[in-house]
């Protein structure tokens, strides 16, 4: 099996996601980057599940479901912000600091 390749792939995905999270100014895009990270996780789980049984796959399913829920909430909040200040640029949110 090409375990290493898969792990590498997931690592790359993870990094891309993190990069997106850090640099993207648009809230929605940030959410999408997060999705990338979560999927990296899923890849890991699936790969390992081929060794250690279904638990991994179950875990992956849970992850997908919960990710969906999270993104739902996230979008709601972003929407809320858009309502209040007509923009989803999360860089403008620095009212509280220190």
């Amino acid at each position: 099996m090409f375990l290493n390749q898969f792990l590498l792939l997931s690592a790359i995905l993870f990094t891309i996601g993190v990069y997106g999270v850090i640099v993207r100014k648009n809230g929605v895009l940030v959410l999408m980057s997060i999705e990338l990270v979560l999927n990296a996780v899923n890849i890991n789980l699936i790969v390992f599940s081929t060794y250690w049984g279904v638990a991994g796959q179950v875990f992956a399913l849970f992850t997908i479901a919960i990710a969906a829920a999270e993104v739902g909430v996230g979008l709601a909040i972003v929407l809320l912000i858009y309502r209040n200040q007509r923009s989803v640029d999360i860089d403008e949110l620095d009212e509280m600091k220190g």
Binding site: V21, I22, I90, D91, L93, D94, K97
Partner: protein
């Protein structure tokens, strides 16, 4: 016996009188003076009775030689006070106890009464009384004249052991030690008992007139009582700790009385100076007592200490250190050169006080202590057989320089003050050369005539609007104040040592005691230097006293107003004291006068000087007519010269010498400035301690220590604010770079945190993840 075991009643009386005056004095018709007089009178009577008893008691000293007899002589020392004495006493034993029991009972009963009248601070004495009675038992049989006192008369000091009576109660227990408080009665303490109470009584009477209508009349008498009480307490102390207590208490009384008129700065300054100077000496006292406490095997008891020191149980060095420490105390309290400077200033106090405290009683406390602990000094300074030691040296110097200082004073009290300094020097020298009896004898006589002189001076100033400046404000008072004049004259003569007044006898004994003069080899050593210095001092003494007489009583009245003779309450004490000063000498006529009837010579020595285990076997210089004549001549020549100089205007050349001659002026200045000691103390030393040093310490406290603490605090807050500020300030575009450059470490991270920018948070977050993970993966693998 009862008087010896209950002698504590006397100080207790005075203490009670103090309290009474303090609380009720103001309400009394005479503002409390009467209370004081009544009580001190009572105390005096009791003291006299005690004295009488003592004479009877020591007339019955059993014949006997060697340790056994001397041990037996200590049978009246309560074992609980002095274990050593108890052991010694155990040597000579074997007496029935029946009478002892009865003695004990009566003693107990009496103690009960004593307690009732003794008032406060004497509880527990009752409890202590029975054991005292017990311990008294062995002495009982001696009472019926067992041995012929007549036999005990040969040459003054035969080997008849004195029988001191020591009684005490448990004061407190500290650790494993039991410290007792009690009384030590023997010739020495009884002597002081009488002197103190007598002079105090006279001064009380004198004061009723002298400080009449004073601002703080009542307080004045209160403190007189307190002083008397403390002095008696000191005199009767059974252990050194007790001595310290009395020593300090009299110091405070003198402080309070010197500063009696504290509204004026000089008076309060003088008071402070007196107290502080004494405090300096007290360092010596404290340390010395501590050293001796351990030297005597953890015991404060004077008996223990003396006996051990006497029998050479204590190493010479310890005794030396101890005695040297104590000498500093003596120097401060008894105004010895170089700590004498407070005494003249102390004259700022009311004159009767000067008479009582700064002439007759308190200032001799130092002398008394040395005499009390004589074995320590005798062994420690190895007085016997040598020709010089610290004590005698200090004494002699003081005697001479004090006398010289007395010359240049304008203030009559200052003259007397320096005279006191010088006379104390005589006493200390006497102790230093081993003439113990002579010292005490001189203390005795000096008390009378010096008190008389002071009171006389008081009487004078009373007449002259409370000025003591004899040079400017007095003169020609001979006619106006005859009583004062004559008494003053007698006292002066006594002080100058004119035959046959008391001063002559005591001073002569001291001179002989130096053992330097051919024919006085009987003494303990040969102190030639001392003899010379003392003779010079005697000369000066005579001279400056004559000077005072001249200024005060002769010539024209230079003051203002019309002086008048003082009232009876002032003059009576003068007369009494003068007459005592005149005749007091007879109590110790030299043994050599064997033409006199039996038992009239050396009474003083016989009754006062202890013989026994707790006192060194000192030898006595015999009376030497030649020396006597010389001393008288010296005195007379002093008088004579001064007479010629002042009265007859002889040596005209000398008059105003100081004005003309640089050299003379120089020396005069030195004298006028009291050898610049005050300048040294106040300006240099005190100034330094008070000023720079203290300020330095304060600065150190405020800036360095406190500063460091504050610095720590500041750094905490400061670094907080640093983090805060940098966290707060916007990082424009460094987020990614900073996050990327994770090598820049936690510091950089802190700077990048908390900007309010989510993405920078995120960057920090992942950076931290990367670092943590990276580090651990690398380190641990």
């Amino acid at each position: 016996m009862w008087f010896f075991t209950h002698v504590w009643i006397i100080p207790a009386l005075m203490a009670l009188s103090f309290l009474l005056i303090l609380f009720f004095g103001k309400k009394m018709p005479k503002k409390g003076a009467e209370i004081g007089i009544v009580f001190v009178g009572a105390a005096f009577v009791l003291a006299l009775l005690t004295g009488g008893n003592w004479i009877a008691w020591s007339n019955n000293n059993p014949e006997g030689h060697g340790p056994a007899a001397e041990g037996a002589a200590l049978a009246n020392v309560d074992p609980s006070c002095s274990s050593v004495a108890a052991e010694a006493a155990a040597v000579g034993e074997g007496v029935e106890h029946v009478e002892g029991k009865t003695e004990g009972k009566t003693a107990g009963k009496k103690a009960g009464e004593g307690h009732n009248e003794g008032g406060h601070s004497t509880e527990g004495a009752t409890a202590a009384a029975p054991p005292i009675g017990e311990s008294a038992a062995p002495a009982a049989p001696a009472a019926p004249a067992a041995t012929e006192p007549a036999g005990a008369e040969k040459g003054g000091h035969e080997e008849v052991a004195t029988r001191p009576v020591v009684s005490c109660i448990n004061w407190f227990e500290n650790g494993d030690q039991t410290i007792s408080i009690g009384t030590l009665v023997d010739g020495q303490s009884v002597l002081l008992l009488i002197v103190v109470t007598l002079i105090s009584l006279l001064v009380h009477v004198f004061s009723t007139d002298y400080v009449h209508g004073d601002r703080r009349y009542t307080h004045y008498f209160a403190f007189l009582s307190l002083f008397t009480a403390s002095m008696l307490f000191f005199v009767l102390s059974e252990n050194t700790l007790q001595m310290i207590v009395g020593w300090e208490l009299v110091g405070v009384c003198s402080f309070a009385l010197i500063g009696h008129w504290w509204e004026e700065k000089p008076n309060s300054d003088a008071a402070l100076k007196a107290f502080l100077t004494n405090r300096v000496g007290d360092i010596g006292l404290l340390v010395g007592v501590i050293v001796l406490y351990f030297a005597a095997g953890k015991s404060f008891s004077i008996m223990d200490l003396n006996i051990l020191a006497n029998e050479g149980e204590i190493s010479h060095n310890l005794l030396l250190i101890g005695s040297l420490c104590l000498i500093t105390a003596v120097m401060s309290k008894s105004g010895q050169f170089i700590l004498h400077t407070w005494l003249p200033d102390a004259m700022a106090g009311p004159t009767p006080v000067s008479a009582l405290i700064h002439a007759a009683t308190m200032v001799v406390a130092g002398v008394y202590m040395v005499a009390r602990l004589y074995p320590v000094f005798f062994e420690g300074l190895s007085i016997s057989g040598s020709s010089v030691n610290a004590l005698s040296m200090i004494g002699a110097i003081t005697a001479l320089f004090g006398a010289m200082l007395a010359f240049v004073q304008k203030d009559i009290k200052k003259v007397l003050a320096y005279s006191t300094v010088s006379q104390l020097g005589f006493m200390v020298t006497a102790l230093g050369v081993g003439a113990w009896t002579a010292a005490l004898f001189h203390l005795f006589t000096h008390a009378f005539f010096k008190a008389c002189l002071f009171l006389g001076a008081g009487s004078l100033s009373h007449a002259c609007h409370h000025s003591f400046n004899m040079v400017d404000d007095m003169g020609g008072l001979r006619k106006i104040m005859p009583k004062t004049f004559w008494t003053y004259l007698v006292a002066t003569a006594a002080l100058a040592g004119v035959f046959p007044l008391s001063g002559f006898w005591s001073k002569d004994e001291i001179l002989a005691g130096t053992g330097s003069f051919p024919g006085t080899e009987g003494a303990n050593g040969e102190y030639h230097v001392m003899l010379v210095m003392l003779l010079l001092a005697a000369f000066c003494t005579a001279a400056y006293m004559t000077r005072t007489i001249w200024y005060a009583f002769y010539g024209e009245y230079r003051g203002h107003g019309t002086p008048h003779e003082s009232g009876p309450r002032i003059t009576t004490p003068l007369i009494i004291l003068a007459s005592l000063g005149a005749i007091a000498g007879i109590v110790n006529l030299p043994a050599a006068f064997d033409f006199l009837p039996e038992g009239t010579q050396t009474r003083f020595e016989h009754y006062v000087e202890p013989v026994g285990l707790y006192f060194p076997a000192i030898s006595h210089a015999g009376f030497n007519p030649a020396l006597a004549v010389i001393s008288v001549l010296v005195g007379l020549s002093g008088i004579g010269l001064a007479y010629l100089y002042f009265f007859k205007d002889a040596f005209a050349g000398l008059h105003g010498l100081a004005e003309r001659n640089k050299v003379a002026a120089f020396f005069k200045n030195i004298l006028v400035n009291k050898y610049y000691f005050d300048w040294l103390y106040t300006t240099v030393i005190v100034g330094f301690v008070k000023g720079p040093l203290a300020r330095a310490a304060n600065w150190f406290s405020a800036n360095v220590i406190d500063g460091t603490v504050n610095l720590v605090g500041k750094t905490a807050v400061g670094s907080g604010s640093w983090v805060y500020k940098n966290v707060d300030q916007k990082v424009v575009d460094g987020a990614v770079n900073g996050a990327g450059s994770s090598a820049s470490g936690v510091g950089a991270m802190l700077r990048l945190t908390q900007t309010g920018r989510i993405q920078q948070y995120a960057a920090l977050f992942f950076a931290a993840v990367a670092i943590l993970a990276g580090v651990f993966v690398v380190v641990i693998g």
